[in-house]
């Protein structure tokens, strides 16, 4: 993943880090972006728990495009608040969306619609505060019918965590996926963080479980627990304690710096992060089985 980020992510890029809401968040990529000191990123995510807060604290972020930034366990994200309220460590520009409107903006970006006319964001001041959105009337309606025009979002790069992928990036994902498919297809480049690398035959045995086919993927990295402390269905439970600790240990800028040194900057890579977690991570590993009923694709 070091090489993939070095090659594909540039200062100033718009980066989707997790589009599945509170699960499958690519924290391993968040860490590596901090270690490689990327700057002026536009972080795009509907909700990515503390991933966005970490990047802001580490000074990587110029813009935030999203629906919610914080710590689902602890409430606020301290770095996000500091940046928004007092420009520390640097001011950030915030583009507010609701979950459905950012979803439809990704959808439009993925599938070639220049914009979408939405009704679900009517009445919200988000329409006034986000300069990308515009009020209009439905030109096809006989009676006046207000709509909000939301333009397509086309990020530079999307990181996604998947349960399993083959070496070519063909990926299986299950459980709720939030905006994973739309955000990834809308992005110019896709980097897959696979919890497990499997033979191509495993993925090909169930092409309907493919959310992102390999032909659109720029790099596949095998990183177990890349989602930690977020959960991944059937693989890893959520590390609730870690989220609480982050909330307690990042109240002041110098506290965040200490946290970030300890958990990110002083570690060479995600393997070292997993080693540091040790038994705490092993306890989150899902070892039970609740298997899906098979689907038959036979032709004769």
């Amino acid at each position: 993943m070091q090489e993939a980020i070095a090659e594909f992510v540039h200062d100033g890029d718009s980066v989707v880090l997790g589009a599945a809401l509170e699960n499958a968040i690519p924290f391993a990529a968040t860490h590596e972006l901090i270690r490689q000191e990327r700057r002026n990123l536009n972080v795009i995510a509907p909700i990515s728990d503390i991933s966005t807060d970490m990047l802001i604290g580490a000074g990587c972020v110029a813009e935030v495009t999203g629906a919610w930034v914080g710590n689902v366990s602890g409430g606020m994200g301290h770095n996000f608040r500091r940046a928004a309220e007092s420009g520390q460590p640097n001011p950030i520009r915030i583009y507010d969306y609701s979950n459905f409107s950012i979803g439809m903006a990704f959808f439009a970006g993925a599938y070639g619609l220049p914009y979408v006319p939405l009704k679900s964001i009517l009445g919200s001041d988000i329409v006034k505060s986000n300069p990308r959105m515009k009020m209009a009337e439905n030109p096809l309606a006989d009676e006046p019918e207000p709509v909000v025009l939301v333009p397509a979002l086309k990020p530079d790069i999307a990181f996604l965590v998947v349960q399993r992928a083959d070496r070519n990036g063909n990926s299986h994902i299950w459980g709720s996926t939030g905006l994973t498919q739309e955000a990834s297809i809308a992005a110019e480049k896709i980097i897959v963080l696979a919890d497990e690398i499997v033979e191509p035959e495993v993925i090909a045995s169930d092409p309907s479980r493919v959310l992102i086919p390999g032909f659109g993927v720029n790099a596949v990295c095998h990183i177990p627990a890349a989602c930690h402390p977020a959960p991944l269905i059937g693989r890893w439970r959520r590390d609730n304690v870690f989220f609480h600790d982050y909330h307690k240990e990042t109240r002041a800028p110098e506290e965040f710096d200490r946290w970030c040194d300890e958990w990110v900057r002083d570690l060479p890579d995600h393997a070292a992060y997993r080693a540091k977690l040790g038994g705490q991570l092993e306890e989150l590993r899902i070892t039970g089985e609740a298997l899906s009923a098979p689907a038959n694709y036979a032709t004769e």
């Binding site: 608040r81 979950n99 439809m104 009517l122 001041d125 939030g178 739309e182």
Partner: protein, 253 residues
């Protein structure tokens, strides 16, 4: 002292707002428990939806901290994408949704974005999530909020999620299809819109709370509906259902 906590009363009051067979946008924490109580009592055929892309019949069997946690997905009716689930809302297929907030005003508008000036906010709140979409498009909106003067305000600094906007028919004129906030459940009382202005009025006071206290803790000049009731105490059946769900007594204290 009662055999239930204030939070348990709030959960049961919220459960009573769910009708059988309805599709409900469930949030985390208190509403998810309310949904569970409703399913076990008067609404066995309700369906719960979570914006991450989950629909469930029975609520999750184990404790969940986020809607994306494993127990909320195991045995679900549907695990899919956000657009499929929130699209049902946008498509007018959802009967009711729960939201909370940092501030609510007398027309039921909710702020979860900015306290103070947008350009230089005193407090930057986490943001909207899917609340504006729920507030705009669910047939009914159910709001849960703590009853404090700085939370129930005359006018919110920022309308994240629309209630009745400026009141009267402003909501309809803005093109919003859902009927808007039909109930606000607090830790002291229950408010409902009343009259042509659709202003939130006091509708019921929880046991052990007083009119004066409720008015004092409301940031606008709170009016009452003609016959303010006392919130009905939880029935034995309701409490049993709640205890069945809240095994560890998380909401009891």
């Amino acid at each position: 002292m009662h055999d239930y906590s204030t939070q348990e009363l709030m959960i049961i009051a919220a459960a009573r707002e769910i009708n059988d067979g309805e599709r409900i946008f469930v949030g985390m924490r208190l509403p998810i428990t309310a949904y569970g109580v409703a399913r076990l009592t008067h609404a066995p055929n309700a369906v719960g939806l979570f914006e991450s892309g989950v629909a469930r019949y029975a609520p999750a069997e184990d404790m969940i901290y986020t809607m994306c946690d494993g127990p909320n997905q195991l045995g679900a009716a549907w695990t899919t994408g956000l657009i499929q689930i929130m699209g049902l809302l946008s498509g007018g297929r959802i009967h009711a949704g729960f939201i909370g907030g940092a501030e609510i005003d007398r027309f039921g508008n909710i702020n979860t974005s900015y306290i103070g000036d947008i350009a230089a906010p005193k407090v930057k709140l986490p943001g909207s999530g899917g609340a504006p979409d729920i507030a705009a498009m669910a047939e009914r909106l159910i709001i849960i909020i703590n009853h404090q003067k700085h939370r129930l305000v005359e006018k919110v600094d920022f309308i994240t999620s629309p209630g009745f906007l400026d009141g009267g028919d402003a909501r309809e004129r803005a093109g919003l299809s859902g009927a808007g906030p039909q109930v606000v459940i607090t830790d002291r009382a229950i408010l409902r819109p009343h009259g042509p202005e659709n202003e939130l009025h006091l509708a019921a006071i929880h046991p052990d709370h007083t009119l004066e206290e409720v008015i004092e803790n409301t940031g606008w000049d709170l009016k009452s509906i003609p016959e303010v009731a006392q919130t009905a105490a939880p029935s034995a059946e309701e409490l049993a259902a709640l205890h069945q769900i809240d095994k560890e007594g998380f909401w009891r204290s």
